[in-house]
């Protein structure tokens, strides 16, 4: 291991930071802890050095091209972080009176308004804390809408087979049954199967458009007509919003409710796995069910709308109002782009994806949907290379790391064998994309000359390929004092 565990910087009684304290607690003995928890005992410099070194073992957008499909790994502007961390924003108590929060509430109100325009919806709530929670809010609102109309039989959610795993998982969390419908070989949904699936039991359909296959679902107007005709509603998963800003929006496509991943489209950081934000937008008929709290304007004052003002709300999704700091970063980013800037984001995200796809096709790689225009991302399949050489999509992913590129998304969507889902985003230069193509060519050349060497990759990372089977069979999930390292 390149960096020991923080617990191994052991020196009894040492601590990195001294809080002010000379007092004793007045808690009776029976509630007191007898043992000492195993927390590190390191100096401040050791702690800083340890975590700095650990950070250096990571790939990140700030250090590497990160073309991870469906994740929109674009540049996270530093100014968004700096301004979201102004001391008054950090020290504001979530239950503080609105008089001490007008600057913050106004910002949230304006963010709601801007997001409404981008997705073509009637109202927005910012409270969901991640995409999956936005999905939860969306499906819960669809259920609440049907329930409020006494339409209790509508418990089925339709999901295309190409959908992200959170879609079916969310439907189940909301107490719905999942009905999967197939995708045709051209990447669009099989409408006959959709017509056969809808009925009086249909609560709604969950769709991403462009889909996870990296193509725009061209029959979306017919899909909306079929689902609405059967009494169901349409839910838009905003994972791929970066492809369409200012070009079309879920409102125009006929959707009733959307969630937006602010950590994708609006450039808030992914943070090694969150925090995200899954703000939701709704059309007029779902507005009464929006999760609370959200911000309303009363005269000159910005105030919270809560369950009191919104009796039909699906309720609260978090202890307070969601990931406020993430929302500030998204607001700052959107204000720096303006209307035209957001449109340009989608134009260049789509240009980069189509350029990269064309370059890979020219280099002899197989696009999964070569006759289709790429959206902001696209799928290639390495099926032929795998048949010829035994080198898999996963081997390519690992070999790319040695070339200084983070791997694209592998084996998703599940429909395409040996696939890579590649999303370059607008913030990458042509030069970087060309470098990625060169790396792909070089890995393929090696697959045909020395496949075993590709299968050894990565060779330049802090570790070689890890034994995942052992990790799952003999779980080692916490360090224990005295354990071998």
């Amino acid at each position: 291991m390149k960096e020991p565990l923080i617990f191994e910087y052991e020196s009894a009684g040492r601590k990195g930071f001294t809080p002010p304290s000379e007092s004793a607690s007045r808690i009776p003995e029976e509630w007191l802890r007898k043992d000492e928890p195993v927390l590190p005992r390191a100096s401040e410099l050791e702690v800083v050095r340890h975590f700095t070194r650990l950070s250096q073992l990571n790939f990140s957008i700030d250090t590497h091209f990160y073309p991870l499909g469906s994740c929109t790994m674009k540049y996270n502007p530093r100014v968004c972080n700096r301004l979201a961390m102004l001391p008054q924003f950090l020290s504001r108590h979530p239950l503080g009176p609105v008089e001490h929060g007008q600057g913050f509430l106004q910002t949230m109100y304006e963010l709601q308004e801007m997001l409404q325009v981008v997705v073509g919806m009637h109202a927005v709530s910012l409270t969901p804390m991640a995409g999956a929670q936005g999905e939860y809010a969306g499906v819960a609102m669809i259920r609440a809408y049907h329930e409020a109309r006494g339409d209790h039989a509508r418990t089925e959610i339709i999901v295309p087979d190409a959908a992200h795993g959170t879609n079916p998982a969310t439907a189940v969390v909301c107490g719905c049954d999942v009905v999967e419908i197939p995708t045709r070989s051209d990447g669009d949904i099989d409408l006959d199967r959709l017509r056969a699936a809808v009925g009086p039991q249909t609560a709604g359909i969950m769709l991403t458009n462009p889909s996870t296959l990296g193509v725009f679902e061209r029959q979306i107007a017919e899909i909306a007509a079929i689902v609405h005709g059967a009494g169901g509603l349409l839910y838009y998963d905003g994972a791929n919003l970066n492809a369409i800003m200012g070009k079309t929006h879920p409102g125009a496509m006929g959707f009733d409710v959307v969630h937006m991943n602010l950590h994708k489209t609006f450039s808030t950081p992914h943070g090694g796995g969150g925090p995200g934000s899954g703000a939701v937008g709704v059309n007029q008929r779902l507005q009464p069910f929006l999760p609370v709290p959200y911000v309303q304007k009363q005269g000159d004052q910005y105030v919270w709308a809560t369950g009191k003002e919104c009796p039909q709300t699906i309720g609260r999704l978090s202890a307070f109002m969601g990931n406020a700091g993430v929302l500030l970063r998204a607001y700052i980013y959107m204000r720096m782009l303006g209307a035209r800037g957001m449109q340009r984001v989608s134009e260049f995200a789509v240009l980069n994806a189509n350029y990269l796809m064309a370059s890979l096709i020219d280099a002899g790689f197989d696009a999964a949907f070569p006759e289709r225009r790429a959206s902001h991302e696209f799928v290639i399949t390495l099926k032929q290379i795998e048949r010829d050489t035994g080198v898999t999509a996963m081997d390519f992913a690992k070999a790319l790391l040695d070339h200084g590129f983070h791997a694209p998304t592998t084996y998703f969507p599940l429909l395409v064998p040996e696939c890579l889902l590649i999303e370059p985003t607008e913030s990458e230069s042509r030069h970087t994309l060309d470098g990625f193509v060169a790396a792909m060519i070089s890995i393929r050349d090696m697959a045909y000359t020395d496949a075993a060497r590709v299968k050894e990759a990565p060779l330049t990372m802090p570790v070689r390929r890890l034994d995942d089977v052992r990790a799952a069979k003999q779980p080692d999930l916490v360090w224990l004092p005295g354990a071998a390292t």
Binding site: P20, S23, E30, W31, V47, G96, G165, G274, L317, L351
Partner: protein, 453 residues
């Protein structure tokens, strides 16, 4: 245009490679009827200097009142190194560590985080974080229903002393899966054991116990834990991580300890930030780990037998199991958990204990200073950690508004959540509220209450 690096020549060359004349042609698969002209109503772009000025103006407008408000978010001091390191680009702009070889930094941090949380709670295994305390509690209830196969109940007993907003959020999330929360009444700041006895024999999947309670008091955790286990129920401990440097860990409650511990991670180095991003934590016994939601990191070896870290037990998760996953959670609160790991590393158990002791001592000082004012009395005799309930001789809302106008957040008005307590306010003093702050609060309150009610 910000954040787009293309030159005109790049664009021309790239369009030529694609085989189109202009960028608009790339959107030709969008049916014309669905296209929009642009984003009307969104203001033109601001420069970095302009947005900086705007945000500074708004931040200043909000001020920085002196905070004696807790109720789930606490004003602790956060050492400078915590967020300096956590916002390094390599942590800040990385994705979920699916490519383990290129994410050993994030993965090792999570492993260290899991170790610290397991040790603080006295339980075996932790996940990599959930969204916040309220959703962690909801997930813990669902987990308990899945894990308690013996009694197959979909009821969870939840004390009235448990955070009202945790109950509210959980009720919403659980309703979709037909899990019911049944309230345990309270008596003088602790769970009413007599009322509890009357509930014996009715099956329930789990009993939740919050300690310190939402009202700051310490509950009878040992008795409650043993009672729950005697009923065949699991015990979900909801706790404040700072308090655990001082208080008995959930794994040590009663004869055999709680089964699941969860709570709000904000006290561990996370600024109050209007409510988020915080992180929820969840820790459990080894036997329950396969029912745990969220991501988990494990240590294993690589091809050369060298140790390394990877996401593990993923067969529980939505990207593998889809509709049969333990939860729909995907993204969690990785960066905030990273900050908490750095915070706990800097403080160590001795430092965290000093923070906890200081909070307790300052809150005692606050309660003494305020109850010396005529018209202010303390409710409940039960011991407390860093929050206490005071009763006023008039409605709390008006008093808090007047204090707020003087730049003091005087506490949390309990009248909506606990009308049975009358004019009651929940006050809090962390280690950052010293004698001078307390004296200022007491002086302002004395002035207010001295005036005619």
């Amino acid at each position: 245009m910000p954040f787009i690096p293309h030159t005109e020549k790049d664009v021309a060359d790239m369009l030529a490679r694609v085989g189109v004349d202009n960028i608009s042609q790339l959107f030709e698969e969008i049916p014309p009827a669905l296209r929009i002209a642009g984003l009307s109503g969104i203001a033109p772009a601001l420069s970095e200097a302009e947005i900086s000025r705007l945000m500074q103006t708004r931040a200043r407008a909000d001020g920085e009142p002196l905070c004696f408000l807790g109720a789930g978010a606490y004003d602790h001091y956060v050492p400078a190194a915590v967020w300096d390191i956590a916002t390094r680009g390599e942590f800040y702009s990385a994705y979920t560590p699916y490519q383990a070889e290129a994410s050993q930094g994030t993965l090792q941090v999570v492993y260290e985080f899991q170790t610290m949380l397991a040790s603080l709670t006295g339980l075996d295994v932790s996940n990599a974080s959930l969204y916040d305390g309220a959703t962690a509690f909801a997930e813990a209830c669902l987990m308990a229903v899945r894990a308690n196969r013996a009694n197959k109940s979909r009821r969870i007993l939840v004390p009235r002393l448990l955070s009202p907003v945790f109950r509210d959020v959980a009720r919403g999330i659980l309703s979709g899966q037909k899990v019911e929360l049944v309230e345990l009444p309270m008596l003088d700041g602790q769970t009413d054991m007599a009322a509890l006895a009357s509930m014996a024999g009715q099956p329930c999947a789990a009993v939740a116990i919050q300690n310190p309670t939402f009202l700051g008091s310490l509950d009878k955790v040992d008795e409650l834990t043993d009672w729950a286990h005697a009923q065949g129920a699991l015990v979900i401990a909801v706790t404040n991580p700072t308090s655990l440097a001082l208080l008995k860990a959930p794994g040590q409650w009663g004869q055999t300890g709680a089964d699941i511990a969860c709570g709000e991670g904000q006290p561990l180095g996370v600024p109050m930030s209007s409510g988020g991003p915080y992180f929820g934590f969840m820790v459990c016994r080894q036997a329950l780990v396969r029912q745990m939601p969220g991501r988990i990191v494990g240590r294993t070896v690589d091809r050369e037998d060298k140790p390394g870290f990877t996401l593990t037990l993923q067969a529980r998760e939505q990207h593998i199991r889809r509709s049969r996953a333990t939860s729909n959670i995907c993204t969690n609160q990785g960066l905030i958990a990273t900050a908490a790991t750095i915070y706990m590393s800097l403080l160590g158990s001795a430092g965290l204990r000093e923070v906890a002791v200081s909070c307790n001592a300052n809150t005692h000082a606050l309660v003494e200073a305020l109850t010396a004012i005529p018209g202010v009395t303390r409710l409940f005799a039960a011991p407390f950690f860093h929050e206490a309930v005071l009763q006023l001789d008039r409605p709390v809302a008006g008093v808090l508004a007047a204090l707020s106008a003087q730049g003091i957040l005087g506490g949390y008005d309990l009248s909506a959540d606990y009308p049975e307590l009358g004019d009651a306010v929940l006050v809090c003093a962390t280690e950052t509220r010293g004698a001078a702050d307390i004296a200022r609060y007491a002086a302002e309150l004395a002035k207010l209450l001295g005036a005619k009610a």
